[in-house]
Symmetry: C2
Subunit: 342 residues, 2 copies
DNA sequence: ACTCCGTATGAAACCGGTTCCATAAGCCGG
DNA sequence: CCGGCTTATGGAACCGGTTTCATACGGAGT
């Protein structure tokens, strides 16, 4: 190849103009004569010149990049959000810089630090639950960010998501309405996770509101993978005095229960009603199809991006956005009467 | 906040040294006295200073960033690869810049252009099947890249993946070995996709080798989503003279068949044997569990990253790496005798 | 005491864009 | 015919790191 990269000055020389003019053409400013613009564009096209974004970033102090750190992409829930975000951002001239934390807050911080060093214009973080040190770091460096996944109007930082407490409450209420009195609760780890916590509390509040007991041995804390979920489900099924229904705070956990019941020949919903939260793609494909709380994950992420893009553009955008959820009844829930009265 | 961002010169002033020295400390060079190093690090720590990666990138002409463009993250197959790549790269000081093309070559090119403009050190692209214009663009800009998903030793560009022809062949052979004579073929779109093409050809070659016919109406070309797969499966089941087995070039397609059969009461494998290629996480969870060709997707991506990291570091790495696959027999395949001889 | 060398540090140019400011040309009204 | 305004363009500083080259210093060798 030709010895060195070609830059704006080369283009300028070949087009017989000043670098400043080339820059103006590149940025579509209107203070350039039509004639000059065409000449410059011609040169750019024939040389296949692509301006150096790092140089531009250094100069204008913005990278047109949004960073995000999620626990893993290896989970339909996050993958779906990432996908939606990526698409929305690309359509608006931004690129997504992706980092994963593997559910480790320590690593999350390191990743955030890295992203900030790379001068992302803003960050998308899951949940509003972050260490003060991290928050202070972000504030100190003037990096805007938005929390996705939970609607937290009381938080001083922007957030987009659903009301997790209400979702947990709604899921549990559905079971109560069906007539269940013995309801178990399988929740994701709540440490450092306000969404899981909200859902669990919602379900508990529903139970308490209905005057129903929740014995210690009917509540389980579940790890992140599908295998963890199956493991826990197995433990649940081994319970001598089993509940007639369980609310799972994520669909993945519910999958675990459904699959494990299938394996051990326990029929759903006759012997056990199961409800999840999330409504992943698989939820309606699995056998029996999962009753769940549908969360518009893609919309949540899209709105988070929308918020950032607009507020970076100087717009005045509402700090908190609540996305709606809805109960989607499929085949894994039924009245306990079906089984008991038989 | 303090009026302006703090830079290396501020750190230098506060530590009473020259900017060059701070730079040396940051980069861990050894030509700095222990005493000075400690003083500088002290200042950096107390000020929470994070060096500007864009400035560094401009200066050293490398961003420690690897770009990739995949059709979508919204597919367990790609999500899994992305996830592995991200993790591996992070562990080696790189960050993944993610772009998606939505199965559109036009958009893919645009994304590549964008990534190149952002000065990624290298690219990971799916497959070796790219337009000459794109290849020329990459070459002209001196951007190294590696193809993932197919082992293509004859290609002038590096590749990491499995031998897709062999995978298709193996899958089909499994059905033939079981005694099937009427075998259908559900393949992903082959346009611009050498992997799908290889698998389809492999299956066809196996058929031809066994002297088995493949009537036009037993081969289907399937769209990308699970819903497309179900749609096609529905069409297959409507065939009056249906095959006794089908090879699907991806697990997602196989899922479609399995789910659609369950819906219409057709029992697998008694009435129809199904084999997929890929072995996604769901393949072993679905009912009945899917027989498939297991591809070490994560390993493929990890090796692709490994290749790039090492060759960027100046190492001399083998240009093509073939990952192994293996047949994983589960519950969706059986001898046709079971059904026919009854 | 003097040269020679290795080590620690500083000064300044450079990476490739952007943008402020200056300048020049063209046009209008008085 | 000239001042003043608008528009097109060029010159040069600047963004925040890195790196080359020069310099200063201390110690070893003779």
């Amino acid at each position: 190849m030709n010895g060195k990269r070609l830059g704006i000055r080369d283009i300028a020389r070949l087009a017989g103009v000043a670098p400043a003019t080339v820059s103006r053409v590149l940025n579509g400013q209107k203070l350039v004569s039509e004639e000059t613009r065409r000449r410059v564009e011609e040169v750019i096209r024939t040389l296949d010149y692509v301006p150096d974004a790092t140089a531009r970033a250094l100069s204008v102090r913005q990278t047109k990049t949004i960073g995000t750190v999620v626990p893993t992409v290896d989970n339909a829930f996050y993958a779906s959000g990432i996908s939606a975000a990526q698409k929305y951002l690309a359509a608006n001239g931004y690129t997504l810089l992706l980092a994963t934390s593997d559910y480790d807050p320590e690593l999350e911080f390191e990743q955030v630090r890295n992203l900030v060093g790379r001068k992302v214009d803003a960050l998308i973080l899951r949940g509003a639950d972050h260490s003060p040190v991290l928050l202070q770091f972000l504030a100190g460096h003037g990096v805007p960010w938005v929390a996705v996944g939970s609607y937290s109007p009381q938080s001083p930082f922007p957030s987009v998501g659903i009301d997790n407490h209400a979702a947990g409450f709604r899921a549990c209420t559905h079971l109560i309405d069906l007539g269940h009195r013995r309801i178990g609760l399988l929740g994701a780890r709540t440490g450092n996770n306000d969404r899981a916590r909200g859902r669990v509390r919602g379900a508990k509040d529903a139970l308490a509101g209905a005057g129903l007991p929740l014995p210690e041995h009917w509540v389980f804390e579940v790890g992140a993978g599908l295998d963890d979920a199956r493991q826990t489900a197995k433990a649940l099924l081994a319970e001598p005095a089993r509940p007639t229904a369980v609310v799972c705070t994520t669909d993945l956990i519910a999958f675990g229960v459904v699959l494990e019941c299938a394996r051990s020949g326990l029929s759903i919903p006759e012997s056990l009603s199961v409800i999840g939260i999330g409504d992943l793609e698989w939820s309606r494909h699995i056998q029996p199809a999962l009753t769940t709380i549908s969360i518009p994950t893609k919309e949540v992420w899209r709105r988070a991006c929308d918020f950032l893009v607009h507020s970076l553009a100087g717009g005045n955008v509402c700090q908190h956005f609540e996305c709606g959820f809805e109960l989607t009844v499929r085949e894994t829930t039924a009245s306990p009467a079906i089984a008991r009265s038989a």
